[in-house]
Amino acid sequence: MKKRYLVLALAGLLGSMGFAQEMPDLTTAMEDPNGWATPSKDFASTRHSTLDQITPENVGDLELAWSMSTGVLRGHEGQPIVIGDMMYYTTAFPNIVFAIDLNSPNEVKWKYTPENDPGSIGVACCDVVNRGVAYADGKIFLPTLDGHLDAINAETGALEWRVKNTDWTKGQALTAAPLVVDDKVIVGVSGGEFGIRGYITAYNIADGTQAWRFFNTGPDAEVGIEEGTFKPFYDTIKGKDLGVTTWPQDQWKIGGASVWAWFSYDPELNLVYYGTSNPGTWGSSARRPPELAESIGDQQATWANLWSTSVMARDLDTGKLAWAYQFTPHDQWDYDAVNEMILTEQEFNGETRKVLTHFDRNGFAYTIDRATGEVLAAPTYGEGVNWASEIDLETGLPVRNLDKGTVLGRNVTNICPSAMGFKDQQPASYSPDTGLFYVPTNNLCMDYEGTESTYIAGVPYVGATVKTYNGPGGHGGSFMAWDPIKGEKVWENKEQFAVWSGSLNTAGGVAFYGTLDGFFKAVDMESGEILWQFKAGSGIIGNAMTYMGPDDRQYVAVLSGVGGWSGLTVAGDLSLDDPTAALGAVNAFSDLGRYTQKGGQLYVFALPEDAQASAE
């Protein structure tokens, strides 16, 4: 009799504990300053945390609190997310998802291994990375490399639904972190190097049915352009079916313009912002008519190859385009426009404007009115940009240096930035406290030879041989603070290698970034002084994040595991005496293997426990 009562009482206790664990909806989760509920911290993609326990005065005492191997040895881009007391993160292919209860972080609460076709490995241009899982309403959303979107129960790790978003046999992969807003989860598609036709898709969170999908090339109806709804700011992008007519013949059908990096969202305007990749093929000769074979001349707008290398602003509910702007018309250098769009308010000529800031691959830092698509400023953010001398703010068009235009059969040397850009997908952060951006950059230039390319589904459609090397000054990259109003560097930490990891900044006054050779660094946001660093087991291409633990201590976490495009010299099994291998990366990164090796690990840091007590 007594035993039965004991069992019942215990069951009741456990049951009530279960109910107490109910997962919050996304809005509630995002309002919690202690968490990190979406990949980019917030819809504006600021990667700014209001947590301030860690300061320039005490960060020197930061120590490793706990760590967990991922068991995977390819590049780990992306970042963990934290909702309440739960942390979730994923790995490089095979994209295992780990759930950790932060009350007992030395064990894994659950682990989910998706079905994931290894054939997709062959269509991932730049290592088999994943930029993160997303959360909403008790579900974790995982994009798998082979093109599925899995909705996983956040408490149990059980699969709730899965949809096939992309077809890897056609050169399409999936690496971007999803964006969840309201009742929709939005995903992209990768494959700009495979002649895919890029698109963006919204699914209903509840059951995975498709809400909308639009393409980034082709006729207006398929792109989501409607007269009266679509209002681009610049004349050269006003017109009918520009996603067809700015291409020769049917080239738009294999025109790239994929969606492989970051999304932002403005709740007031109800607009989703993202950038599109390079056009298909890299070799631009195929994207302009034969009479212009030698040079695009002054025809960049006519043969702009829309809507590649553009920022797109789509209505969340319908997917239709409100406006767009193209950063690099008729791209000849692989200047994907997929880097993050950070949403802030800035003063311009005495007026407060709602803008987006975008550090493009092409070396220019754009400030754009995010309601209208007007470019307010576009200075360069790195040394030696030479494919164009400036962006003409009247027309929105770059003023090109035609001698840096790439051509079939010719090797054009010393083009800056390289195809990797002065920044690639590694995200910058913004602090509303300082008004500055904290930007991880590449200092890379290239030689680019146009070669033959034939479209074969599932085979790279590139048409270029590239050799990348360090740019002016000889260093590989830097981490800098950038003033968007003055358009200038406030401070800069030069690094040996391109800084391929994303930045975090905090109200405590400390910013974090990781280096390709494995140093995780904390810097004073005012001066850039490096106040603390930790040598991780493998190079860092993940994005730092921070959260408040259940013990009221601030933690900082980052994934270590070298790879990505720049780290392929270590993560891939390459022969380093071919400088053009890995789409040009080998030449610039051939010595990376002296400094780091493959790995896969989550590192989590905090101040010592007694430090918290004495601070209070």
Binding site: G119, I456, V462, D577, T580
Partner: protein, 111 residues
Amino acid sequence: MFYRRSNTFAAAALAIFVASFTFTAIAAGDAAAGKALFTGKLGCYGCHGQAGGGGMGPSLADKTWTYGGDEASITETLQNGRPGGMPAFGAQASKKERADVVAFVISLSAE
């Protein structure tokens, strides 16, 4: 008498031996033609680098072979593809073209 016959026999054997090499060389592909295909229209360089150093795909210039580095294995790989991302080129390239590419690939690790 015996000596002369064995001489003839030896000469014939030698001739057949040499001829078998020549025959193999003709049946094996033309590495130079293979290089043109590898770095051009078949797009191999896109995954494997202009000199086979690798990238999206593994290096073909080293001694490590996931699916075998002998001529028959590489031919099979090229014709039918392999798990882990190597596409099938059976339809994209003729038998002669495939043989040429295989010859070029073998030459990359012979250096």
